[in-house]
Symmetry: C2
Subunit: 364 residues, 2 copies
DNA sequence: CTGAAAGCGCTTACAG
DNA sequence: CTGAAAGCGCTTACAG
């Protein structure tokens, strides 16, 4: 047993290279390379033999050498630009990442994760990654109008999966989702269906004054949800819904809830953009002596485990984030392979009904 | 504006190499390399000139070429081996990662994150990373007795930061924390203090029958907390505390709570190993018509935002995970630099008192 | 202090 | 199908 204070030595054994494989197999280096990469130029038996020898002597590809040749690196990039304290509680990203890993892991691809404090830092990370060929592709989230990252990534030639709804209106981003497969496909969850289901459910329960506490307003997915709410409310003949925007935090969620609940006329139901703010809303309601769901119905979004931890448990719009992550990973892999990938919505949102929603109060 | 269906081309411009810098600066390639790496062999003015030229023509190091030379790669590895659905809610890892990034980001070091389903997969990842020189160092969490990962990492010569208390007893792991700085330092949060504070606080409130719902029993940090509880309970003259172990999930947390609360004698206070299970305990108490804190006091661990979302809000043992992450990152950077790093405890645990704890019920 | 040269491990035309 | 050779971008002895 090595004495604990001793630095690991790397065992001293040199790792085998393709030259070693070639020597052991009695063939040329190039034959080994062809065999290992499944390229023409070697006979079936020779290929099998080479593979067996490589396996036997424990050859592993040098990702450094491969990267130098401009081939795939085996790393996908993800930059997160939300404050750490918000990320800590938003289960969304961890679930997205774990879904991605379910696909990337078996492919022996790791995720390079960077958390930054400012938009400029994020651009710098992309520049550096592109210049150093450090990742094969990246995934970009929280897209806003004319998002500068999209232009940069295009200019850098860094393949990217854009996680955002396309914004049905006349594509104000200028980089809107391509109709055909591209090296910068857009993928998004079906927020419109989620919003519609929530609204129709509330209306079926007799609610008419319905408000929304939204996330960061400049994100396209926030806009998409807002538009869906307005359109569906109009279609159902409801009064224009009050919509307040926040930064997704507990604090701003509580403030928005308070200002809605002390306003006139008071809404009988509020739809939130995440579970955290909806959970906080329950506390604000208690503080104002409003019973949930008797006097106020609350609908959350994401359906993370938080929705189960509150009292009452939260009715929540549900998205299968894990499966979404798997889809994103496949797209990344396709891009890294040099393929073009189709844009499109992902999955179906559902409504998970629990105890925070009920019939509208009689005295409307 | 490029047509959206068009693949990015990489702009066609070749990125500048040190040869380009050498030509532009009118010096030899080696001079450029020395200047860029702060090594002797160039005069002060020449060094400055070279740096300026490199900057001007936009030179960026090729991490691939550097990795090929055996120098630092600029990637640290983190493998997570807990089920995805648990990771999604445990804010611990996201906060740890964000703390690490606060240090690694400015150093231009990314985190390679892998989520695996089985211990064998985790070992395979380390083998592959070591063989391919893909990361500079790794961080290992959730250490158990005679953890096979520690032996493997040592054999692979992969520098590692071990996140675990050392287990005061005669080091049954065989790889226990070295007394001096090493290439495999142990870092741990001060769980003993946290446990002691919680227990003393409960005793001050008049509690004597105190139970604990622990996490996974084979982890050393679980053992450390259990030992701290037993010792402190004995010191305070309390009856032997009941201790149930779980997998940290809501389900098992609820089951353990139920079995404690329907047992005889019923504990008047329970200490949980994370916030999630403590939050679930509130629901179980409600289900059994027990009022918190009047009839049952609940203490959580981690003090994540979940502790604020419940009703009543949770009293929680607090650890500054973000700062812990920063410390871990510094250790990783030191190891990657080839330095040996000191083992030791990190920070001070505290007790964040909220509404889930109160005086012990009179009818004891 | 400088400059020419070899080499890290791999891939890929190229001539046989 | 095979084998010798050049080259990816960098680092590092080595002789001047």
């Amino acid at each position: 047993m090595a004495s604990p204070g001793e630095a690991p030595t790397g065992s001293g054994k040199r790792r085998p290279t393709i030259s070693d494989v070639a020597r052991a197999a009695g063939v040329a280096k190039s034959a080994v390379s062809y065999a290992l990469n499944d390229k023409p130029g070697v006979s079936k038996e020779k290929r099998r033999h080479i593979l067996a020898v490589a396996e036997r002597i424990g050859w592993q590809p040098s990702s450094a050498a491969r990267a130098l040749m401009g081939t795939r690196v085996g790393l996908m990039g993800l930059v997160l630009n939300r404050p750490a304290r918000l990320l800590g509680l938003e289960p969304f990203y961890m679930e997205l990442i774990s879904g991605m890993q379910e696909v990337l892991g078996p492919l022996d691809i790791a995720l390079a994760l960077q958390i930054v404090e400012a938009g400029a830092d994020e651009l710098a990370v992309y520049r550096s990654w592109a210049a150093k060929r450090e990742v094969d592709a990246v995934v970009v989230t929280d897209i806003s109008q004319r998002d500068p990252r999209l232009a940069l990534l295009r200019d850098l030639g860094l393949p990217a999966v854009v996680l955002s709804p396309p914004l049905a209106q006349a594509d104000p981003t200028g980089f809107g989702p391509p109709e055909q497969a591209s090296a910068m496909p857009w993928l998004w969850t079906d927020d419109i269906t989620g919003m519609r289901m929530a609204l129709r459910y509330l209306v079926a329960l007799g609610h008419r004054r319905i408000a929304r506490v939204a996330g960061i307003s400049r994100y396209l997915h926030t806009t998409a949800r807002t538009t869906a709410l307005r359109q569906e409310a109009a279609r159902l003949g409801l009064p224009e819904p009050a919509i307040l925007t926040t930064d997704y935090s507990q604090e701003q969620g509580a403030d928005a809830t308070r200002s809605l609940l002390i306003g006139q006329p008071r809404p009988t139901a509020i739809i939130y953009d995440n579970d955290v703010m909806a959970a906080t809303a329950l506390q604000v309601a208690r503080e104002l002596h409003l019973e949930v769901p008797r006097q106020l119905s609350v609908i959350a979004w994401d359906d993370s485990m938080i929705a189960h931890l509150t009292a009452p448990k939260l009715t929540s719009i549900k998205v299968d984030v894990h499966a979404y992550g798997m889809r994103v990973a496949s797209a990344l892999d396709g891009l890294a392979e040099g393929s073009l990938v189709e844009s499109g919505p992902f999955g179906l949102a559902g409504l998970e009904v629990r105890d925070s929603t009920g019939a509208a109060p009689a005295a409307d």
